[in-house]
């Protein structure tokens, strides 16, 4: 069994957010195959960065309400 399947099976066995986590795992190992450690890092960082930008915009608007 490859490491991808091994990790996948273990995630599958957990009760919480299984589908999302399996999808995330697939994206992680695909990133690793595609561009190595940096790709994994940037893929995750980009995802959280885009949320961060949206968050900062919302906070900016909230500050204007004061």
């Amino acid at each position: 069994m490859s490491y991808k399947e091994e990790v996948r099976d273990k995630i599958q066995g957990s009760a919480e957010r299984t589908e999302e986590r399996i999808k995330l795992w697939e994206e992680v190992h695909a990133a690793l195959d595609h561009g190595g450690v940096e790709q994994v890092s940037s893929m995750l960082a980009e995802r959280v960065e885009s949320l961060k930008c949206e968050f900062e915009e919302a906070i900016r608007k909230l500050q204007e309400m004061l």
């Binding site: 490859s2 490491y3 091994e6 990790v7 273990k10 995630i11 957990s14 919480e16 957010r17 999302e20 986590r21 995330l24 795992w25 992680v28 190992h29 990133a31 690793l32 195959d33 561009g35 190595g36 450690v37 940096e38 790709q39 994994v40 890092s41 940037s42 893929m43 995750l44 960082a45 995802r47 959280v48 960065e49 949320l51 961060k52 949206e54 968050f55 900062e56 919302a58 906070i59 608007k61 909230l62 500050q63 309400m65 004061l66």
Partner: protein, 721 residues
């Protein structure tokens, strides 16, 4: 089982030129030569031909291959490797090539199968995978011992050594995933967002505090204005507004003016508009009142009368002053006629004195005048030229002065003194005459201006004024009458003003109530931020980030768990063989049994390996470099033994890096044992190990000696059978 037959390389790494075929049919193939002679390139070529891109760069899991690990030799455009293998199904030829270019260049793969058919591209890769029957990771763990692995185990820190062991066990994918997750720092971003929200909350709390303080201040003012502290609400505000409206209606009716309609506020927010309308209406009613109008007119008339009266008084005073000045002057110096008479008399006396001087000395006047003339003209004409005839007479001025001093002056001295006094008097009289004229003019002007003021007074009073009239008194009387009327009107509008003050106070209370309610709404408005889309949005984003972080943490912990299990399983399966090989190579009587303990390294996220002896004592601190080298080789060979695979050979690259002579001999004994099951390909620069291999390996050997490597031509390789 897959066996190697032979290999040809061209343009691959250390081989710019096409090599002679390397034969691998013997049970042991030894590649011997100095450092950087192309030996490792042969092992790399076998690996690359079988696994292609998988063994290149980051995905290889081999640190040294990340960035800058070239396939095509820098002096040629293309690399090609031809590998002939023998499997149960017959002889298969693999041709793999890569053309130098941007990025990884153009790559081709071709497999010629035993039946003569040829597969290319993806099909060829699939065929090789099938033939090898082993993943690249397993190949790197149980077939090919890279020199980097032993190097890392020898020289790096304990945590990096654990990393090297993880990689030796084929766990690099897990390691890389963990590295990637760690570098993404998404948990840090989550904390950043929480901190940003924390700052926003602090700002909100500060704003609420400021507004609350302001509200308290407004409430105090409202209570000071007469409102009850418990009535600072909308109900009271509407009540006050209604009261104001009624008062304005009553006021209008008292003034006998029709009030304009003012709409009552529907709620507290309408208070400002209501106040503005009410204020306008009050101003309008006030300005339209007859009393107020008359009061305004009287005030204006009084101001005008006062101004004219003041002007008259000032002008009258100016005339009096001017006349006094003339009188004072005439009392001192006489009037105009008297001054002129004295001037004429003085002039006659001067003429008589002149005649007397001429009679005493006919020359006196001439000499006196000549000196005066020469002194006056000296700068232009000099003092030697006669100003009358123009003839030159040397020292004329001095001559005249001498004449005057010595012969004339004593004769006319008294007359001259008298003449001078008369002349001075005449000048003085002429000055007095001019001064008298000026005073007379000033007095006339003052009278003119007084007349103009009197004319204005006449116009204001509406009657002609003669010298018999006193305009100032008349104006004073008029002002008195106006004042009387103003007082009467003020008494008349006093009640109205009181009504207005009352309305004004009510409006002030209304305004204070409005401000209190406005501040209360502002504070509750802040509370309502929670209901805004933006607030909900940021909340959802933080939930999403939390979900992402939790998911990533779960993936991370699962990968750690799998990696730990893998390491434990592999070590468990190979433990006996590792211990056996380690004892054989090291031969240390103090270490009779080697066991390994695997835990999670919380700092690095990888596994932490602790080697212990038969007594459970930790070995890591006491292992020498040679022992560590032996340990690395034992792990590799132990894994080879523990995991049966379809590859019929193993490759060892520079295995004896820190081994002593005895350990090298023992290693060769172990390798001879391994050679029973699999062919052995060993690359070494260590001549001692090479000698031991030649003499100690009991199987047939093919030896390739590498030397004289040249960047353009590559190594000189000699096959020794």
């Amino acid at each position: 089982m897959l066996h190697l037959k032979h290999l040809e390389v061209e343009g691959f790494r250390g081989f710019p030129k096409k090599s002679d075929p390397f034969e691998f049919t013997a049970p042991a193939v030894l590649l011997h030569g100095g450092n950087h002679q192309g030996k490792s390139s042969i092992l790399n070529a076998i690996e690359w031909c079988l696994y292609g891109d998988q063994c290149v760069g980051q995905k290889s899991g081999i640190r040294e291959r990340v960035g800058g690990w070239v396939i095509v030799n820098r002096n040629v455009p293309k690399a090609s490797v031809k590998l002939v293998i023998d499997t149960d199904k017959g002889v298969t030829t693999i041709n793999r090539a890569e053309v130098k270019g941007k990025g990884r260049g153009e790559r081709t793969i071709e497999v010629e199968l035993p039946d003569g058919s040829v597969k290319k591209g993806v099909d060829a890769e699939k065929e090789i995978t099938r033939l090898a029957g082993l993943s690249f990771k397993d190949f790197a763990t149980t077939v090919y011992q890279h020199q980097e692995t032993i190097h890392a185990i020898l020289v790096q820190t304990p945590s990096e050594r654990s990393d090297a062991i993880d990689r030796l066990l084929g766990l690099s994918d897990y390691r890389n995933v963990l590295d990637g997750i760690k570098r993404s720092k998404i948990a840090d971003v989550q904390k950043e967002l929480a901190e940003q929200f924390y700052s926003f909350q602090a700002l909100v709390e500060q704003t609420v505090k400021i507004r609350q303080d302001e509200l308290e201040h407004k409430k105090e003012k409202a209570v000071d204005s007469g409102l009850d502290a418990n009535q600072l609400n909308e109900h009271k505000l509407l009540e006050v507004a209604s009261d104001v409206r009624n008062q304005i209606g009553k006021f209008a009716s008292e003034m006998a003016i029709t009030a304009a309609p003012i709409s009552s506020p529907a709620n507290w927010k309408g208070a400002q508009t209501f106040t503005a309308e009410a204020t306008n209406e009050i101003e309008r009613l006030w300005s339209e009142s007859a009393d107020v109008k008359e009061q305004s007119q009287l005030n204006s008339k009084r101001t005008k009368a006062d101004t004219i009266k003041t002007n008259c008084e000032q002008q009258k005073q100016a005339v009096a002053t001017a006349e006094v000045e003339v009188q004072k002057f005439e009392q001192s110096h006489g009037n105009q006629e008297m001054i002129e008479t004295e001037i004429r008399a003085t002039q006659s006396t001067i003429a008589a004195v002149d005649d007397e001087i001429r009679q005493v000395s006919p020359k006196a006047k001439l000499v006196q005048e000549g000196i005066a003339l020469l002194e006056a003209t000296a700068p232009a004409y000099g003092t030697d030229v006669c100003p009358l005839c123009g003839k030159t007479a040397p020292n004329l001025l001095n001559h005249l002065k001498k004449e005057w001093t010595e012969k004339i002056e004593w004769q006319v001295h008294d007359l001259n003194t008298r003449w001078s006094k008369l002349a001075e008097r005449k000048v003085e009289l002429e000055g007095l005459k001019a001064k008298h004229e000026l005073l007379t003019v000033d007095a006339a002007e003052a009278k003119e201006q007084l007349k103009a003021s009197v004319d204005k007074a006449a116009e204001f009073l509406g009657k002609e004024l003669t010298d018999r009239d006193d305009p100032i008194a008349m104006l004073g009387k008029e002002i008195g009458e106006i004042d009387d009327r103003i007082i009467k009107i003020e008494d008349a509008i006093k009640d109205k003003r009181e009504t207005l003050d009352k309305i004004s106070k009510s409006l002030n209370r209304l305004n204070l109530l409005y401000e209190v309610l406005e501040f209360e709404e502002r504070i509750s408005g802040i509370q309502k931020i929670e209901d805004t889309t933006e607030y909900k949005e940021q909340n959802e984003i933080r939930d999403k980030v939390a979900a992402l972080v939790a998911d990533v943490e779960k993936v991370d912990s699962t990968v750690r768990e799998c990696m730990s299990e893998q390491a434990k399983n592999k070590m468990k399966a190979a433990a006996g063989a590792i211990d056996d090989y380690f004892q054989k190579i090291v031969g240390n009587p103090a270490i009779q049994e080697l066991s390994v303990e695997i835990e999670e390294d919380t700092r690095t996220g990888g596994n932490s390996y602790t080697f212990r002896d038969q007594n459970g004592e930790e070995l890591n601190p006491v292992l020498s470099q040679g022992d560590l080298n032996a340990l690395a080789l034992s792990m590799f060979l132990g894994l080879v033994k523990a995991y049966s695979h379809p590859i019929g050979f193993i490759m060892m690259d520079d295995p004896s890096q820190s081994l002593g002579t005895t350990q090298k001999k023992r290693l060769v004994e172990v390798m001879d044992e391994v050679c029973e099951d699999r062919n052995l390909i060993v690359s070494t620069m260590d001549s001692e190990l090479q000698e031991f291999l030649q003499s100690g390996l009991t199987k047939a050997k093919t030896i390739y000696e590498f030397s004289n490597w040249d960047p353009k031509t590559g190594p000189n390789v000699i096959k020794v059978v």
